[in-house]
Point group: D2
């Protein structure tokens, strides 16, 4: 690997453009060498603003480019499968924004393809694992200090969502983070999902089942509940509480930076969106990925974080969640045996 990692960013919409700015202005030891987008002008315009950066029109060509050391996928989900397989083919480490792919079968295909290659090249963008609060919570659990975790409570609230957001997307785009958090914190698979549909928010778009309350059971019988409410009008609030046999621990009671007293009231501000809440987590995720890629050659492992299996597992749980959303019943999660791969 060169001293300065040359990254191709595929997809420069909101998320991808954010990563381009991040790599350019905040990340040590890396630069954006290539950008690509199906809106060609957009990519070219962006490339022009970054020293040493080119726009490449074809994503597969960008992946194959010999002057690209690693790939960051921020393209739409349906293109992921093909692009991930191309990365594997060219032996390029890839950071893939969620989802891994858009369904369980293709996710499993990607898992298998990487397994056959024998190198860990694919990292999935579950950035919460890099958030300082989640990281400390995980450490606390692993320390044994609060005993074995028995129950986890999550809340995930957005002030608003785009107009086209539907009830299944609440599962696949929002709840998916609680799926990964559960697997990360408890170190085991989720075996069943039930989605409860409370009386819907009158201020939500017609037909949107919001809020939803998801119930997970895990392999060893732990219980997780997760309220997802994406049209609160309030702020971006993410909270997780782990209740263990010797104590409990909570993160995400956002207290803001400044505590203010004003006539009759006190308090602080809450993060308006995931960008403020998890901005630092994204920075850490990308810096650590860049660092891991650079040392990966020796070990065959080019990732420092959740991989293809985690993307597949999340897809399997969300598929069960979408089914439960329809039936209201508890749905078993169907996954292959990890040791079979």
């Amino acid at each position: 690997m060169p001293n300065e990692l040359r990254i191709a960013v595929l997809g420069v919409g909101m998320m991808g453009a954010d990563h381009v700015a991040r790599i350019t202005s905040k990340i040590a030891g890396a630069r954006v060498a290539v950008v690509n987008d199906y809106v060609v002008d957009s990519a070219e315009h962006l490339a022009a603003s970054i020293p040493g950066c080119r726009a490449v029109a074809d994503p597969l060509e960008a992946i194959a480019d010999p002057e690209v050391d690693a790939v960051l996928l921020a393209t739409p989900g349906p293109t992921h499968e093909k692009q991930l397989l191309a990365c594997l083919e060219h032996g390029k480490p890839v950071m893939c924004e969620k989802p891994l792919t858009t369904d369980v079968e293709t996710s499993l295909a990607v898992v298998k393809a990487e397994a056959e290659l024998g190198k860990k090249l694919i990292q999935v963008g579950f950035m919460r694992r890099f958030d300082a609060e989640y990281a400390e919570l995980k450490q606390l659990i692993d320390s044994g200090d609060i005993g074995r975790a028995l129950v986890v409570h999550c809340a995930h609230r957005n002030p608003a969502v785009p107009p086209n957001f539907d009830s299944a997307m609440i599962v696949k785009d929002s709840l998916v983070h609680e799926v990964d958090v559960t697997r990360f914190l408890l170190d085991e698979e989720i075996t069943s999902v039930q989605i409860i549909k409370p009386s819907a928010n009158a201020h939500a778009p017609a037909g949107l089942q919001d809020p939803q309350v998801a119930l997970f059971a895990t392999e060893s019988g732990r219980h997780v509940d997760a309220e997802v409410f994406v049209t609160t009008g309030v702020a971006y609030e993410v909270r997780t509480e782990v209740v263990g046999e010797l104590g409990s621990a909570m993160i995400g009671l956002d207290v803001g930076l400044v505590r203010k007293s004003a006539p009759g009231v006190w308090g602080g501000t809450i993060a308006p969106s995931f960008k403020e809440r998890f901005g630092q987590a994204y920075d850490t995720e990308i810096q650590r990925w860049v660092d891991a890629v650079k040392v990966g050659g020796e070990t065959g492992n080019y990732i420092d974080g959740p991989g293809a299996w985690d993307g597949y597992a999340a897809a399997a749980v969300c598929a069960a969640g979408v089914k439960s959303l329809e039936t209201g019943e508890r749905v078993a999660v169907e996954m292959v045996d990890r040791t079979s791969i």
Copy 2:
């Protein structure tokens, strides 16, 4: 009513003795005139320590005593039905510690007997309604400030329970408070209950299903979840969060009175038991009951708080909860139509 209300306290175990001390040393306008207990010595010993107080051996005689203006029932649940009916018969206002009676049928019988009398004489000891935090939360909901409540999250944790506590008692003695809180805050009935049984606490007595997570649905489709965990070893923690269409509100993040910094850590103490957490609520409950009894004559209403119907409704929900504890399934709550009484 005389200027100083003469109260008979029936049952002077832990709870009753606490009420005797409260009325004697903290409540204005009332005194304990009579005490009764099936352990006669215990009642006589207590009576001797209070000026103007007598022990009466027979509870029904104590109720009928012409020098008793009102009754406080802290006797074991199985005796409540007979004692409540005696209070109605003699027209004596009565504060009845939960449960109203030990089953749904007898609870309904008491509701009907009081309805026939046409006077509201029976108050049930759901003290949380008098807690300053719950009262302010209720006010906030009623103000419309956080919009229509859609979801409620509760946690109810005890450090320990007596040795004979079984899984059904977690529903009937602990969860019953969340049942009443739900009905109080949301002003509607609970229509179904499901008890989820996570992997049990290894430090709990063998066979005790602890923790339990209860799910309530209400008439208009609101969702409530309540974690009840009675062997945490930690402290007495009671928390309720109401998530509304315009905002959310939480009570019970016990922060203690003093914020202390010590080597490496900061924090405060948590209430060790319900006595510290709800001591003030009990004081308020009894003072307001005493005040209400004194003015009751004019209105036929001698209570300022939850009444017999609330006791019946709680019994009906808990009965469904116990059934769900056995089956794991969602169980519909069976209640008569209130307008039929």
Copy 3:
């Protein structure tokens, strides 16, 4: 003493009327038997609303009344000396709202008169000692848990003061509470006072030096600073932090009862006035005083709280404070040797 203590309340302005209501509706074992006010109608009107209560026109007659067991003084400060001496003369226990008297000499005279009598009859209304937060802070200090206290920081903020409030009253009426808190927490006398006069609040009445920052030094060299700011327009905020050799502890970060999330912000309400903040402290103060008076006969001590000496010491410190307000210099506190009395 009779079973129900018969109290004469002298002065039924805002403070006195509040005490009358408190004794009547919240305190066990006592009743208001006599009320007095220089506005005779006001006293008579109030008396008529309370069973068994009379208005007595002459305060000294009220004190002497054989059907009065104890006296609560809520009269203007300039009348205190004469009324306190009358209480001593008739051997009546008296709860005296601050100040003890209006100057250091007469305060000392009262201290000496009580000392000669050999009975502790006078309690001074420093209610903060009965506040649960201050009581726990005192316990924490006394436990040794945070080591020897070296520095204390206080803030005392009022939203507004009456129009006639002048700069010296900020010392004598507001800062006096921090004087007593300091003596209570640190268990020693204050030896010097300096008042710092920052740039004044533009929203305060012209000529009012507000805020003020007071610096106290104590006998053993501890340092206390107290910001007093009585025209904040915000709320009633009282905070005390004790910094010890092994840790620190803070009270008064008013967090309210409910934590609310609303668009963009979270927080709670702050107590609007001392009545909400210290209402419970007043209740406790009066209940414990009533209880102490009843058992006082045996011991000659009819008080449970700060006494005449504490009133005198506060007067001496405030006198030095007023002098410093004029000069800006540090002023030594002049007090007699306690053992000389």
Copy 4:
């Protein structure tokens, strides 16, 4: 300027080595090209671990090196004057860890030398200005939301200091941060300083006056008090409260990342040292300095933060503080008129 800024780090003790690691692993668009230390081996060892980095034995030679674009001074204070003047001479932007120089006169000489050059090349390492909490507090003040600030309270507590730390160093090394914070937040100069010496911590080294309480008055008459306590044994705690005419605001109530409940208590961890508390502030400071240096050519301004004048002002205030430490009296700050330079 080249695309990747080539920095010489002078002094690679704890602070300098930290900056070398930071630039290498966290900062975009810069690399450490040269390191220097009077312990030559130490510099050579470090250089060997960083691709493209050389050790240069003579600091002035390192500054003059044509392949060095900017300098970071982490050398001992007594060498700063000569090194800063060399930076000015070679037109090299320089980030100078505090102090600017070790006395007021030489600090002024540096200010004048830079002024004569007509380019802003010198930034001083007051990192708190880049801390997210201080930045938001500053914004809040500037927004007018809490009105004009009248009083500021600061606390600055360290768990421990090195053995050679003396009472004057508490002023010059610790309190200096509150000096800069005051000037930053209030946008005016400090005109007098008084150091109060409370009874000293028995656990501090013999002869160390710890804690100290500093009082500042500013040009327009605002009051600042700052408790500095460097042997608390507790943690690294930095708190600032600004009391304004319309409200107040506080930062630094360190709540940790995780809120934990354990038997009887709740709470979180506190940052053990300034590295954890201000790590992010250092990162932001250096990244923004690197970015500013790169665009500086066009404007003659190569800094984004406090400059030489701020270093001089801090020196002048600290000199007055050290004098007050000796006399106990209020000491006027002597500074030249800024417009005269």
